[in-house]
């Protein structure tokens, strides 16, 4: 004889990730570092922006990077030209970093003395949005070559971020990207999001970005 029993519950499916993210945040706070999760589609310029950021910040601040990639360590090698503390997480088939990956690294490596920890997420505008890592700030890059419709097409990540950085702005004269439209869409999804427009190539707008980062420690 068999019988069926219905059980009612309310359990967050990503509760474990969120608990670990909270745990990571406690570590970050104890270490006295600022953790910034940088997300974007592939090719938006995360690594290039980090190169520029590290070249400016690392003279005055102790910086570390966690580099998330599905395969290889090409980006990590680029960043190691600026700072030694670049930690690679190779996710294999996973399209995002999760809190457990960060927790493992936090327990395995030494981050004492770090002022800023930059976490370069796997290039993807969908999956990383679902997995908080414990970061203090969530930054989304949107390159002008991607199109001004991206906030409307990927609303979750733009709704749940603190900052949007428009990259490759030197290319604005050559593409149909409508900055007003893009900013309006972001404002409609997330009125608290701060926006920066910059080009690493011709060094415009980078100071505003750097000042925002430095402002978190002042």
């Amino acid at each position: 004889m068999h019988e069926t029993v219905d059980q009612h519950m309310l359990e967050s499916i990503l509760g474990r990730n969120n608990e670990l993210a909270h745990h990571n945040r406690e570590h970050f706070n104890e270490l006295g570092l600022v953790a910034i999760n940088i997300m974007s589609a592939p090719g938006a310029g995360k690594t290039t922006l980090l190169e520029k950021t590290l070249s400016s910040l690392s003279t005055d601040y102790d910086c570390s990077v966690i580099e998330g990639d599905m395969i290889g360590d090409l980006d990590a090698k680029r960043l190691q030209k600026y700072i030694p503390a670049v930690h690679q997480i190779t996710t294999g088939k996973s399209c995002h970093l999760d809190a457990q990956m960060i927790a493992r690294l936090l327990h395995a490596q030494k981050f004492g003395g770090t002022d800023y920890l930059f976490i370069e997420n796997v290039g993807n505008l969908v999956c990383p949005a679902e997995f908080p890592l414990g970061e203090h700030k969530r930054v989304v890059l949107l390159s002008v070559t991607e199109g001004d419709d991206k906030p409307l097409k990927y609303p979750v990540i733009f709704h749940n971020c603190d900052v949007v950085v428009f990259t490759k702005c030197d290319l604005l004269p050559y593409v149909t990207f409508n900055m007003v439209k893009a900013k309006d869409s972001i404002q409609n999804l997330n009125p608290k999001a701060q926006c920066f427009e910059l080009s690493v190539l011709n060094d415009t707008g980078v100071d505003n970005w750097l000042n925002w980062i430095k402002g978190m420690r002042s």
């Binding site: 068999h2 029993v5 519950m9 499916i13 969908v126 009125p191």
Partner: protein, 126 residues
């Protein structure tokens, strides 16, 4: 495809529940609430779950049942509650302002299971 990670999380939760409630039983149904304002594709989640479940004792015949929760938001200007969608470019139909706060539609919860158990086991527990 992060749905595979989410499927793995569901299986982990179900395995723990089964162990607590009825170790020799089988979970035949799990009910989920999925908010519309989550990046979750239900078909991908079902596919991932069905692929992975065969490796989990007592869950291999479990089917997922979904309830999608529509997004509800308070608008930025007039505090209207509205349904932000791609079609209305996430704007409030009444005052054309954007999302102030999302109050529903971000759920990603396990809300129930149906467990098949032998009455013999229930008698033993009784």
């Amino acid at each position: 495809m992060h749905e595979a990670t989410i499927a793995q999380s569901i299986l982990q939760i179900l395995s723990e529940k089964l162990l607590q409630i009825c170790p020799s039983g089988q979970i035949v149904k799990a009910r989920l609430l999925i908010g519309e304002f989550r990046n979750i594709d239900v078909d991908s989640l079902s596919f991932s779950f069905d692929t992975l479940k065969k490796f989990h004792l007592g869950i291999s015949s479990c089917n997922l049942e979904f309830e999608t929760i529509p997004t509800e938001a308070v608008c930025q200007k007039e505090n209207h509650i509205y349904h932000p969608t791609f079609e209305n470019t996430f704007l409030c139909e009444q005052c054309q302002s954007g999302i102030g706060k999302i109050i529903r539609g971000e759920e990603l919860d396990l809300v129930g299971t149906t467990i098949l158990s032998s009455s013999m086991e229930n008698d033993q527990h009784a």
